[in-house]
């Protein structure tokens, strides 16, 4: 099976240690483990937001140390645990993100489609100050969709959502991934989500990669 990421003898301070890990291309990978186990650290390394103290990470057979970080991040978009929405309108939030990636701006019609995908029934002119925590999180996710990345790195994308919305949003995310043939790598606290949607499950415990399950 083709890999999108390969990790070789990775060590990050005394937080995370991974001897070898392959993350398959065009599949849904769920990363699970108790809090503080190093899941977010792993995700940040894949985005080259932090560098491992030792070892090498390959993105499609190319060492990410040799890649331009910005180029990598434009293909591998990450949604952090506490995503920031920019203090402006919903439309501007899309436009700012597209501007960061130096992509062409999208017509309103397209943006509204992304809002529907995250079940955010709001006008593009509305300012983000009026949104709740969960709504901001969904806007941040819609922003990632709009950037049309090859790989999505999502760090607990549903942490601020109620169970019902959570299921809806994860399902939409999974559909998006499948429909456009993307790779999804998602940290989640919900075991059920990992079991239901994960085609590849990575379990991390106390900074060690302990198990990989494939379906």
């Amino acid at each position: 099976m083709e890999s999108v990421f390969q990790l070789k003898e990775i060590q990050y301070k005394d937080i995370l240690q991974v001897e070898r890990m392959d993350i398959p291309l065009h599949k849904i990978t769920c990363i699970i483990g108790e809090s503080g186990s190093g899941k977010s650290t792993l995700l940040k390394m894949l985005n080259n937001l932090i560098s491992p103290s030792k070892g090498e990470i390959f993105f499609k057979d190319e060492s990410i140390q040799n890649m331009d970080s910005v180029e990598l991040r434009r293909k591998v978009i990450m949604l952090g645990q506490n995503p920031v929405v920019f203090p402006s309108t919903i439309r501007d939030n899309f436009h700012i993100a597209l501007g960061f990636s130096e992509k062409e701006l999208l017509p309103d019609q397209k943006l509204e489609e992304y809002l529907r995908m995250v079940h955010l029934n709001k006008s593009l002119d509305q300012t983000v100050e009026t949104l709740s925590g969960g709504e901001k999180q969904r806007l941040a996710l819609a922003r990632v969709f709009a950037l049309d990345p090859e790989v999505l790195l999502l760090d607990e994308p549903s942490s601020a959502l109620d169970e019902e919305t959570e299921t809806l949003i994860i399902e939409e995310t999974v559909n998006y991934t499948k429909k456009y043939n993307k790779t999804l790598i998602m940290v989640t606290h919900a075991k059920l989500i990992a079991e239901n949607y994960g085609e590849n499950i990575v379990r991390i415990s106390k900074g060690r990669y302990v198990m990989k399950e494939e379906k």
Binding site: L49, S51, R74, I77, M78, V84, F86, E102, A140
Partner: protein, 261 residues
């Protein structure tokens, strides 16, 4: 116009009554500031006497070497003063950027101001060079110190925002743009605001000095306008150079955000 009245030693001493007055007030109020008041009054007196003699000597012995030495001392003092003024620890990279932008920005402005605007001759004429360069360096120092404060604060406070931008594929420049713009704006605003009140709310020090020494107020304002524009130019240039290079010190080769808490 008559020249300035030289103050006799007793006249000068009589001005210290203001210090005594302040000491009495803090004593009565029970505010324990006597030590600071005494030290600062003594320091002010000694430093000014010292500078007075140095300048008197320099004016009589004009020499390019002296002028360059004075500029060097002023720049060094200004740079270390900026390091001291900023709250929190500065990274080595940022310190280098401060020194570089301060030195290059002010020297460029001073050169333009003295040789193109004022056209002093010879170029090292201490009587013009030292006070005018001093004003430019002093004001630029205040500007950069403010800019450093805002940039460091902004990078720490908006760490999440910068990281979010990076995750969305932003270059470090785009990710820190709002912080950089804010730092630049905050650093130049005091200079711009001081121009608004000038002549109405207060008479600037240089102009006051010239008028006291018998210069026509019209000549005095010519110099004041010129120096004000020179200061504006130098503050803008130094702060611009600083923020342009400064934000980069918060990112490493891998374009990762490095903020020491």
């Amino acid at each position: 116009m008559s020249g300035i009245v030289d103050l006799g030693i007793w006249q000068l001493l009589s001005a210290y009554i203001f210090v005594i007055f302040l000491l009495v007030i803090v004593r009565i109020k029970g505010i324990s500031r006597e030590k600071e008041i005494l030290i600062s009054s003594i320091r002010m007196t000694l430093q000014l006497i010292f500078v007075g003699y140095i300048l008197a000597y320099l004016f009589e012995n004009d020499h390019p070497g002296y002028t360059l030495l004075v500029i060097g001392v002023m720049e060094t003092f200004a740079i270390f003063n900026i390091y001291k003024r900023v709250k929190g620890k500065l990274s080595m990279g940022l310190k280098k950027v401060i020194a570089l932008s301060m030195a290059s920005g002010t020297l460029l402005s001073i050169a333009y101001f003295l040789f193109v605007v004022i056209q002093i001759s010879p170029w090292y004429k201490t009587q013009y060079f030292v006070p005018l360069a001093g004003m430019i360096i002093g004001n630029s120092m205040t500007g950069i110190a403010l800019g450093v404060d805002r940039l460091v604060d902004g990078m720490r406070a908006k760490k999440d925002m910068v990281e979010t931008a990076l995750m969305l594929g932003a270059t470090p420049k785009a990710a820190s743009k709002t912080i950089v713009d804010h730092a630049f704006d905050s650093a130049i605003m005091p200079t711009i605001n001081s121009m608004v009140g000038m002549g109405i709310v207060f008479l600037p020090g240089m102009m006051t000095g010239q008028i006291l020494s018998g210069t026509s107020p019209l000549t005095a304002i010519e110099y004041q306008i010129a120096i004000m524009l020179g200061i504006l130019g130098s503050v803008s240039l130094t702060v611009f150079l600083f923020v342009q290079m400064g934000y980069q010190s918060f990112f490493n080769k891998e374009k990762q955000l490095v903020v020491n808490e």
